[in-house]
Point group: C2
Chain length 218, copies 2
DNA sequence: AATTGACTAAAATACTAATTTAGTCAACAG
DNA sequence: CTGTTGACTAAATTAGTATTTTAGTCAATT
């Protein structure tokens, strides 16, 4: 809902402040008075934008996921081959989240454990949105003949499940490990999944393309 | 450490009782007096076998993982093809754990959150043990020419990471979903990973073998 | 019309007393 | 003599009460 104005709107200001305070204090210790002071507004103003403290957190997470989905859509629209797109999308979905929560010392799961059921439900919803985008990339790959025929929807879900353990949700980024190790691991998963999809005749060519992509990002 | 006697030894009796009480009360509510009563022994006897309440939990988890590793080793020794072995191993590592913790209403992560760092450290150690077994199966597959040349150790770690999100640790079995859906999802991940490893000329034959295996387990 | 902070019900914390529990080990039973 | 046990105790947790804090509201203010 960002306006076209350069200046971020009030919701983003509040969410930015929430990020900073959560990093410092965690969910329970952060008060709405703290938040109002951090933004430089009255407490009532927060409630004009967010129904409750809990809603605020959902909005914060939504914002990160919107960022993920927008980037995934950009990749989908790019001129890369479907295999390259999928590889990029897989890496993006993990590393974007990794970078977004790196400032938190504890895991999201732990920090928001009072809101566990709500957060878990939303997470399922986000996965469904992502799966659609992955299914689209898979369909394109089949159309141009580089992927073997598979159930795109099921395979999309499979790819997400295959990388979900690296998402910084149940484990904090500190518990997960070094960013570079995570990025390498997710890329390796992506490559293995992709090799499992490529039509035999296509494999070498695409493999060289993926290899070149990998060297570029090093 | 189970003896060859039919009667399970004291440690197993204590651990079995721990399972039942954890399912009923959770970690915090379960007392060592409760446990002694449930086994039908004196509290001092528990401390002859386990250093502390915390150690008891580590032993309980160790026992489950020992079961996983033993089954993985059995599969490794079987006469199945390496691809079939890996598929079975992947499914086993998820479903064995799933079945072992199904009696707990909450996730292991939540139930043992007081012991988080210890439990997470052990978990990493278990993954290393498992990775060795997977690497052995990968090596065998390369030796007989059905897998393309890959770094077996790295690929083993990749395969584990690809299925870790389905382990009933951060999410309880109830939060993960229906057993049949989990089993199907892990099998799909396994298949995709395996297709990504098979040498091109080998793929069709192995695929038919895997397909037959899948029908047998339906 | 948009913002705000005083207000209040509900929640959380602090304090103190009482009770419970993990872990120990001397006494007991076989 | 060896293995088991539950009385014991320091530490932890819980219960009860008082105090303080906080999420959320809304009439007053800008």
């Amino acid at each position: 809902m960002r306006s076209n104005f350069v200046k971020p709107d009030m919701e983003d200001l509040i969410l930015d402040a929430t990020d900073r305070l959560l990093a410092r204090y965690g969910y329970r210790k952060m008060t709405m008075d703290d938040l109002a002071a951090e933004v430089g507004i009255g407490k009532g103003t927060i409630y004009l934008h967010f129904r409750s403290k809990e809603d605020l957190i959902y909005a914060l997470i939504d914002r990160v996921i919107r960022g993920v989905l927008e980037r995934l859509q950009q990749i989908l629209r790019s001129i890369s081959s479907p295999a390259e797109k999928i590889r990029e999308m897989i890496v993006l979905r993990v590393m974007y989240r990794f970078d977004s929560v790196q400032i938190f010392p504890e895991s999201l799961s732990e920090m928001f454990r009072d809101l566990r059921s709500g957060v878990l439900q939303r997470r399922e919803d986000y996965f469904k949105e992502e799966a659609k985008l992955f299914a689209a990339a898979l369909k394109e790959g089949q159309r141009v003949g580089i992927f073997r025929p598979v159930d795109c929807s099921a395979t999309a879900n499979t790819m997400l499940a295959a990388t979900n353990s690296l998402l910084p949700f149940h484990l904090s980024t500190h518990e997960l490990g070094k960013r570079s190790d995570i990025e390498r691991m997710v890329a390796q998963i992506a490559d293995l999944l992709l090799y499992g999809l490529l039509q035999p005749g296509v494999k070498s060519k695409e493999r060289r393309k993926l290899r070149r992509k990998r060297r570029q990002s090093a």
